[in-house]
């Protein structure tokens, strides 16, 4: 059968961009899980709240796609920063108000609490922007939205479309990932986080403030989720209160795929899930005519179930035995 390279490359670009978003969210799951062993179920909603705040900031400034480019970039960055801080603040507060008190409770108590918060945040979002899908104010000039970098800049005669928003996703994601790597590897707090993830009691004895370190983990997860929220808002050009559920579960699948607790695994898992998502949305239809985007959820949740059942340590994660 003829393999359609151009279509494949188009979906590959889409998959990489979605994968970058998922990786950012997945890191939030994996950092928190690595330290407190809690599946922060509300994380998808933290991401969604970031998108909603970015929406509000852009709408409040009144800058639209017809304004000068420097203003557009400025507003984009302000909204990005605002979303990151907002999401971090939400994640931090949830930990402070609820999870911290449940540190010594049975394992399922904080998880149930997190599910409760995910519902509360979703409902707050509905009060905020209504229950239906909303389109953000047009910020990126519409000719740029469809502008094909490969053709316009390099003069390539190809149907492969690389749009400025695709590039923007990477321009924002990759520095964030590098920054995170540097932070975890080289700073004192990063070292404290790694130590706390290994052994909370021992690191407390070594003078590490465990509660502060855990809060830092929630803040970092929130920052990354907020950035993902802003990018997702303009990448999909749509937002709704329920968007966090799907993204959140896809990201959790990515984190599990990479071995939960493993940072580079989460990024890799994110790109893998993004790739599968894009292929299932568009490419599989070429070979199985009855296939469509509506099966994507089943595929990804199927992967989630299979990985958790047969390889709970992840595809690339090292094998960890259960602590008794």
């Amino acid at each position: 059968m003829h393999f359609n390279y151009e279509l494949f490359l188009n979906y590959l670009i889409q998959g990489l961009a979605n994968g970058a978003l998922i990786a950012l969210i997945a890191l939030g799951y994996t950092i928190v899980y690595g330290i407190v062993e809690l599946i922060n179920f509300a994380h998808g909603e933290v991401f969604m709240m970031g998108a909603f705040l970015a929406f509000t900031i852009v709408a409040a400034t009144g800058i639209t796609s017809t304004d000068p480019l420097y203003q557009i970039v400025g507003v984009f960055l302000i909204a990005l920063l605002g979303a990151m801080i907002f999401s971090a603040a939400i994640n931090f507060s949830i930990d402070r108000v609820a999870y911290r008190r449940l540190r010594s409770a049975p394992r399922l108590a904080p998880l149930i609490c997190a599910i409760g918060f995910s519902f509360i945040l979703q409902q707050i979002a509905i009060y905020w922007k209504g229950p239906v899908s909303i389109s953000p104010p047009p910020l990126i000039p519409s000719d740029y939205r469809t502008y094909n970098i490969l053709t316009e800049l390099f003069g390539l005669e190809t149907k492969v479309r690389l749009k400025p928003i695709d590039v923007a996703v990477f321009v924002i994601t990759i520095p964030l990932l590098l920054l995170l790597t540097w932070f975890i590897r080289s700073t004192r707090t990063g070292k404290a986080m790694r130590a706390t993830a290994q052994d909370q009691q021992a690191s407390a004895l070594m003078g590490i403030d465990v509660n502060r370190t855990i809060s830092t983990a929630f803040v970092i997860g929130g920052l990354l989720a907020g950035a993902a929220g802003m990018i997702a808002l303009y990448y999909n050009n749509i937002a709704r209160a329920q968007m966090g559920f799907r993204y959140g579960l896809f990201a959790f699948t990515a984190a599990v795929l990479g071995g939960i607790g493993n940072l580079s695994g989460a990024v890799l898992g994110g790109f893998l899930i993004g790739f599968i998502w894009a292929m299932s949305d568009g490419m599989v239809k070429e070979y199985i005519p009855s296939w469509g985007a509506q099966w994507t959820n089943s595929v990804i949740f199927g992967i989630l179930v299979i990985i958790m059942v047969f390889r709970p340590s992840g595809l690339i994660g090292e094998h960890t035995t259960e602590k008794v």
Binding site: S104, R107, I112, I115, L249, Q294, N297, L304, V305, V324
Partner: protein, 403 residues
């Protein structure tokens, strides 16, 4: 620990006292009687709320079933709505004239009626419970929760997408009503307009489920559930068959969702994948947690409280709230619909209960002891059974490792 427990006065054992045992049966009989005569009260006082109580009782069945899995066996199931869906779709497949399976001639004539289909969907849901349970047995609590969540998403997604079989977004409609039965010379028939017989039918099945679940809980199986919930490794080394116990918990829990699903389908004459979303699983979970994990009365109270808020209170309070909003000139109050708040309320219920009272409003004494390992209150310890006292101390002495 033995030295400490011998110094305590002989524990009060409620289950050995004649009065207590009969008090429970008496209260139960009164409660069932109150529910049974409710349709008359409803029409005398002109509430017109029988149509809300039917679905509420279906949710009572669901909460009791989920309580078996989460409360008794301690396996957090976030995809319980999948079994509800399987029960409902089984009823649809077996009895709807538009069903793919009937058109294909796979369903024998005698099975295309409500009663055989009810029994059949009970079994189908139980088998689905085993199919989900079997591969997930060795998973730890939070991983199990996520796997069941994934399963709970896949099942409605499948029903939505497999249009050729399930009707997709159109759902399945119509579905068979229960065939008329003759009881003590009265012919009881079920029509869409007559709510009363429906109410009694659902009540009958709810009471039946209640007694079945209570029997399970008081049996050897129920005690092994408690054992694996409290300490899986200890239970296993005492000879409890983990595989069998967990599978039975999944199967029995799921089977009641099958009951609930098939009545739901027949009652509304319609099944649609949207009725079985994740939020439904969480609603049922909120009921069980609000009422009290591990206590069947708690599950019932939780289901009635949440169902009451969702189906009656929110609707009834809208009018006074709108009036208040109009009078005071507050736009939000005047136009707000309280029914929209239900997920906020469910979410808050989960969070507040977990933080303040994880054992629920109507706790089981054993569950409370597990959730409050720090309790040292002697007065309370005296009211517990000998087993619970010992268990408390064990938790105290082991500290963190005890969990």
């Amino acid at each position: 620990m033995s030295a400490a427990s011998t110094s305590l006065p002989a524990p009060y054992r409620p289950e050995e006292s004649w009065g207590h045992k009969h008090r429970e049966s008496l209260l139960l009989a009164i409660a069932i009687a109150v529910f049974a005569i409710y349709p008359f009260v409803d029409s005398w006082l002109g509430f017109g709320r029988l149509g809300s109580w039917g679905p509420m009782l279906i949710y009572v069945i669901l909460a009791m079933g989920l309580n078996v899995v989460v409360g008794y066996a301690g396996l957090l199931d976030l995809g319980y709505a999948a079994f509800f869906a399987i029960g409902a779709y089984t009823m649809g497949f077996l009895t709807s004239p538009t069903s793919y399976f009937i058109k294909a001639g796979w369903v024998p004539e005698w099975m295309q009626h409500f009663w055989p289909a009810l029994a059949f969907s009970w079994g189908t849901a139980a088998i689905a419970g085993i199919l989900l349970g079997a591969p997930t047995l060795r998973l730890r609590g939070d991983y199990l929760a996520i796997v069941t969540l994934g399963f709970g998403e896949i099942v409605p997604n499948f029903f939505l997408n497999a249009e050729g079989i399930t009707g997709g977004t159109a759902g399945i409609n119509p579905i068979a009503m229960p065939t008329a039965v003759t009881l003590f010379g009265h012919r009881i028939s079920f029509t869409p307009t007559d709510q009363r017989n429906w109410y009694w039918l659902i009540l009958f099945i709810a009471v039946l489920s209640f007694f079945m679940i209570r029997r399970f809980y008081n049996s050897r199986l129920g005690r092994t559930w408690a054992a694996i919930r409290e300490d899986e490794i200890a239970a296993s080394s005492m000879g409890v068959d983990l595989v069998k116990t967990k599978l039975l918990a999944f199967a029995i829990g799921a089977s009641f969702a099958g009951f609930a699903g098939s009545i739901y389908a027949s009652y509304f004459q319609y099944v649609h994948p949207d009725n079985f979303q994740f939020s439904v699983s969480i609603t049922i979970l909120a009921m069980v947690i609000l009422g009290g994990l591990g206590n069947i009365y708690g599950a019932i109270v939780g289901a009635i409280l949440i169902g009451f808020f969702d189906r009656i209170f929110a609707e009834e309070m809208n009018r006074p709230m709108h009036w208040l909003g109009d009078t005071l000139g507050i736009d939000f109050l005047a136009s707000h619909d309280l029914k929209q708040d239900k997920f906020l309320v469910f979410g808050l219920a989960l969070v507040i209960m977990m933080l303040l009272r994880p054992e629920g409003l109507v706790p089981s004494s054993r569950r409370r002891a597990e959730l409050h390992p720090e309790t040292e209150d002697i007065a309370e310890a005296q009211n517990q059974t000998a087993y619970d006292v010992e268990h408390d101390e064990q938790q105290l002495s082991l500290g963190d490792e005890g969990r």
